[in-house]
Symmetry: C2
Subunit: 165 residues, 2 copies
DNA sequence: AAGTTCGTACAGTTTAAACTGTACAGAAAT
DNA sequence: ATTTCTGTACAGTTTAAACTGTACGAACTT
């Protein structure tokens, strides 16, 4: 096998991993650039700067800048300092599974809690109205919806405590 | 309180519930029409036909037709027969939480499994290549990614068995 | 201080998702 | 058999997300 062939095959595999892995990450409300960038950093044996990312994914520098910021927010990557290096460097965080679940589940739970609170507020507003068949029916439905949200919260809380073997 | 005022307030509450509850459902990869339609059926005390849905949500009949089909696929609503009624009638399924989690988690798991299998395939392809520092490094990363997928599968499997109080 | 370089804000473009209106096939009614 | 009605396929439009290129402030270099 020639040298060109070998590195070419490695590059292919590299791209295939990005393609597949990022599909999973996109399921967790990351957009394509964010997902692909994370996997790229994850597969890199050294930290990368914006220009290298841009080169690696064939996208604009702005897209890379935005994606890094989101991934930093989500605590999935970190900035790395290196002496004499002017450009910002980033690497994927270690301990992928825990970091990922923690961040993801947290965002998820926050959103669900918000909606649950709003439903509670609506329920209280409804209590101020006088009785009617219609009112009682809706009240019951809202109550059930709130329980549904509570169940979701409960089950996602469990994800936070689930240990990887 | 006048009668107009009363029903108006009930309508407001109705809409607020649709607004809030559908946000939660949208988090589970349902689109706006599907989410809103589900909540509408959920809050209705009787089955609805396409024209009633269209009226209730202010959207096109085509949108309602598409949304019902998806919700049927996801097993979240069911068709109801009524004597002498020509139009198709639909209602939300009972046992919201279990139906919802089951469908959702199933779709989720199927997708993750697919990507895990693809990563396994890539890993095997890599094994065919001769050794190098680069190869060993990537191989390790792919392996870790597969374990990540396995953990996700495991934890989502648990959701299927989680019981509502 | 003047000149570079870096990251990001912003406005504009492209691409994809959501939605609409029309037209039509199949079923029901007359 | 003809007409009416219902659900959906399809093509086209609107709206939102993703992305790009330019411009510029801040930080660094000379």
């Amino acid at each position: 096998m020639t040298m060109e062939n070998y590195t070419e095959q490695l590059t292919d595999i590299h791209n295939e991993v990005i393609s597949e892995f990022s599909k999973t990450l996109e399921m967790f409300a990351l957009n394509p650039s964010e997902s692909q960038l994370f996997v790229t950093l994850y597969l890199s044996n050294r930290p990368m700067n914006l220009d290298e990312m841009k080169e690696a994914l064939g996208k604009s520098k702005t897209a890379m800048s935005n994606a890094t910021r989101t991934l930093l927010d989500y605590n999935l990557i970190e900035r790395v300092w290196r002496k004499g290096e002017r450009k910002d460097l980033y690497k994927a965080k270690e301990d992928l599974y825990h970091k990922f679940m923690k961040t993801y589940v947290r965002r998820w739970l926050d959103a669900i809690e918000q909606q649950k609170n709003n439903l509670n507020f609506i329920e209280n507003k409804l209590r101020g109205l006088s009785n009617s068949e219609e009112r009682v029916f809706i009240e019951e439905k809202i109550h059930e919806a709130i329980l549904f949200h509570k169940s979701l919260e409960e089950v996602f809380e469990q994800l936070n405590h689930h240990e990887i073997e």
